[in-house]
Every structure is written in C-alpha cells, then in structure tokens.
C-alpha cells in the first residue's frame, strides 16, 4: 500500500464521516481537533476505523495529536504501524 493510497483513504474517511460537505476542503495539514471536526467521541470513531481498516492496534499511549490530528499525521501513523507489523511478522 503506497503513501498516496493511505492518504486518499484517510481523506475519504474524514470527508464522508466528519465533514460530509464536498464543498468543504480538507488539506493534509489542517488540524482536525482545533477546528472541532473531530471531538472526543469522534476520536473513538477514528480509532475504531483505523483498527478495523488496517488491522492495527492503537494503544492508549498512541492517541496523540501528532498521530491523529491531520490527514498527514494519520497517514504517517498508519504507515509506521503497518511497517512495524511487517517487521514483527518477518
């Protein structure tokens, strides 16, 4: 899975679950928390989506702005987790 695949999926997920309006743009570095797009309940939805879509485990200690606060951060986080899983499996 390439970076652009993951970034596209993250963007699609956020647009269709949190923003809804195709006229609203969501840039790769836009803060989801500061703009209140994702609130405390929303974070739970994001975690559930990450875990079920990518079959990864999001630890409590990983629920941080630098992992979840933007499309870019989330993409980086997913790729790091997937890489780690591959490393463990091999």
């Amino acid at each position: 899975m390439t970076r652009s695949d993951v970034e596209f999926q993250v963007h699609e997920f956020l647009m269709s679950n949190f923003i809804f309006d195709p006229a609203v743009s969501l840039g790769p570095d836009d803060s989801l928390l500061e703009s209140d797009i994702v609130d405390s309940t929303g974070v739970l939805e994001v975690i559930m989506w990450l875990e079920t879509t990518y079959n990864i485990k999001v630890e409590d200690s990983e629920v941080l702005p630098e992992n979840l606060d933007s499309v870019r951060y989330m993409t980086n986080f997913i790729l790091r987790k997937l890489d780690a899983d591959v490393a463990i499996a091999s």
Binding site: L33, E34, D36, I37, D39, T41, E51, D60, S61, V63
Partner: protein, 360 residues
C-alpha cells in the same frame, strides 16, 4: 392577496409534508437527509454496511470487559474514589451506576451536572437511589444566566460547532454535554479519581473503543475547540470553572481512563428499564420519548428537526436497530413522537425566548 403569514404557513406545511415523505434506510432508520448517507439498490444505507456484525460486537464486549477488570485491579484504591460516574438521573446512567456498585464493588462518586432543566422526577429518583445504593452524589448547578446564553446561541445555530456535529446530537445537547464531560474530567483530576464512566449506549459512541485513557495533549486541543466559542459568547471568566486550567494539565498522571460500561454489558433497553424500576426508579412523565431526565431536550429536538431536517436521536436509534437492540418499528415511533408542546413552552419561557413550534 396572500398575506406574509399565510405564505409562511404554506411553506411550513410543505416542509412538514416533505419531512414526512423522507426516504429511510430499509434496514435502520436513517433518512435521506442524514449527512453523508448513500443508499444501495436495496435501499440499505452506507452506515449499515459499515456496521460491525454481532459476532464481532460480542468479541469486542469480551475484550472490553477483560480490559475493564484488569484496569480496575490496577487502579482500585489509588484515589479518593475508584470511578466518577456521570449521573444524569436517566435510565442508562442509573443502570451503569447501580451495576458498577453491585457487581464490581467500586467506590463511586456520582456526579450530576444540572443544566437548569432536569426533570423534578429525575431529581427524586437520584435522591432516592443515592440513599438506597449508598453512594456519594455531587450535583453541580451551572450559572443559569450563562446556561441561558449558551443554549440560546446553540439553538440559533450560531455556528458554535461544525455541521458534522449535528449528525450526532442537537447543538444544545452538544453544548450541555461538552460542559458536563469537561466538569467530570476536571473533578477526576482534582480529586484524583482514576476512571470516569458515562452511560453511552451503542449508537451514541462506538463501543468497540469503550475504554481509553485521556491524553492531556489531545484533551487540551479538544477543550480549546469546545470552550473557544463559549468563551467568545459569555466571556472567559464565566466559563472558566467548567473547563480545564493550566494547573490541571500539570498533573498528566491524574488524567482518567474513560469507561463506557455499556461496551461490556449487553444493552437491552427493556431490561434496563426493568432493572432500574426494580430499584425504585420512576420514569418522568414530562420528558420526551428519547430522554428520561431532561426537559431542555424537548426544545432541542424541535429546533434540530427544523435546522437539520432529521431527528437528533436518529443516529443513536439507528445504531440500536442495527445491533438488534431495538425493533425498527419502535425506533420509528420514537422518531415520530413529537415532544409535548407544553414542555417546549416551559423551556422557551425559562430561556426567555419566543415560544417555538416545530414546522414538522
């Protein structure tokens, strides 16, 4: 000649007719007006397609229960209390409060945020049950002039929150719950209580993520986002007591775990009613079909129906239907049941705004 009044009446009637004819998902109850909805050829919505199947939910419940029991062993006795339970006085929070006390023998501080519109029967229930269950109960009543301004601004749709928030709840409920959750968090930090529990039902939150630890960095960003509009509306000093301050962030080790006990208790609304009624809880007669504690909700539903064109509880009810916790017919009845106009009038009079009747 057509008067302005009659044109408005015709528009209202047309709008009501359109609402009544909305296309609904054939599996759950989400309407075509729900944000982001797409139907397949059989009329099933995309939210149903994404939902977890029962086997996965059951597995999640087992995982959550084991995680909770392990966590409880780690934190039991560490602070003033083991858990702060957000107690609205409604059936679900009463249910989790009683079960946590009886089954897990935890030391509980029950916490109620009084927004000025809690049903008198809900208070009678809480008084009776806090005595019989043997639990410390703290009631925090918000300054009514502040509540008035926050709720009135929320009702006017003054863009306090992004559009997406309407998918989960009315803006009035979002404001009220924002304050209640923040106060609960603040209390946990101040009193060194390691867990906070709320009676979120399946449909209100994704219960698969029902236990997680609050992270100060995340909380700070969320608090800024939630409190910012309120600060601009009523001033820093007025909302300061409701949100975290620097001294709270200086104690990151005291940030509690968030627990949704209904993530590991099979949710069956009928059994929840039976359980709490056996304890002496009585259903208030003045609340709407979807609330068992709050009168403000009746007004919030009317406003939301007119602004968003779908019922604010539809996502929660759809979630319950999807997971087989409620019959579709029952959910449809709840959505169709309009709150008592008398209660709505009581709320608007108390808020000091013109009386309001939904166009639905």
């Amino acid at each position: 000649m057509t008067s302005i009044l009659s044109v408005s009446t015709i528009e209202m009637a047309n709008e009501a007719e359109q609402t009544a004819k909305l296309r609904l998902c054939t599996r759950c109850v989400l309407p075509e007006t729900f944000p982001g909805i797409v139907f397949d050829d059989e009329g099933v919505c995309n939210y149903c397609h994404r939902a977890l199947v029962e086997e996965k939910l059951a597995a999640q419940r087992d995982v959550s229960r084991a995680k909770f029991e392990q966590l409880l062993e780690e934190v039991r006795g560490r602070g003033t209390y083991d858990v702060l339970v957000g107690w609205s006085g409604g059936k679900d929070s009463t249910y989790i409060l009683a079960r946590l006390l009886k089954e897990f023998q935890v030391r509980v501080l029950a916490f109620t945020f009084d927004n000025g519109f809690v049903s008198k029967q809900a208070f009678r229930n809480m008084e009776k049950l806090s005595d019989s269950l043997g639990v410390d109960h703290l009631i925090y009543k918000g300054r009514f002039d502040v509540m008035q301004r926050v709720f009135n601004s929320s009702a006017q749709g003054d863009e306090l929150y992004p559009k997406s928030a309407l998918g989960r709840a009315s803006n009035i409920c979002t404001s009220c719950m924002g304050i209640a959750k923040s106060l609960a968090l603040r209390l946990c930090i101040e009193k060194n209580i390691p867990m906070t529990a709320f009676g979120w039902t399946p449909g209100q939150v994704p219960l698969a993520s029902g236990i997680f630890k609050s992270n100060p960095q995340m909380i700070r960003k969320m608090q800024d986002a939630a409190s910012g509009p309120m600060r601009r509306l009523v001033g820093d000093e007025a909302v300061r007591p409701y949100f975290l301050e620097e001294e709270h962030y200086e104690k990151p080790e005291r940030f509690p775990y968030n627990i949704s006990p209904l993530a590991f208790m099979v949710y069956d609304e009928t059994k929840v009613y039976e359980y709490v009624q056996d304890l002496g809880w009585k259903r208030p007669k003045d609340t709407d079909a979807n609330s068992t504690n709050c009168l403000l909700n009746s007004y919030a539903i009317n406003i939301h129906l007119d602004q968003a064109h779908f019922h604010p509880y539809v996502a929660e009810l759809a979630g319950l239907v999807r997971e087989g916790r409620m019959e579709r017919e029952e959910a449809l009845k709840r959505i169709d049941a309009m709150p008592s106009q008398q209660v709505v009038d009581f709320v608007t009079d108390r808020l000091g705004v013109p009386r309001y009747k939904s166009t639905r």
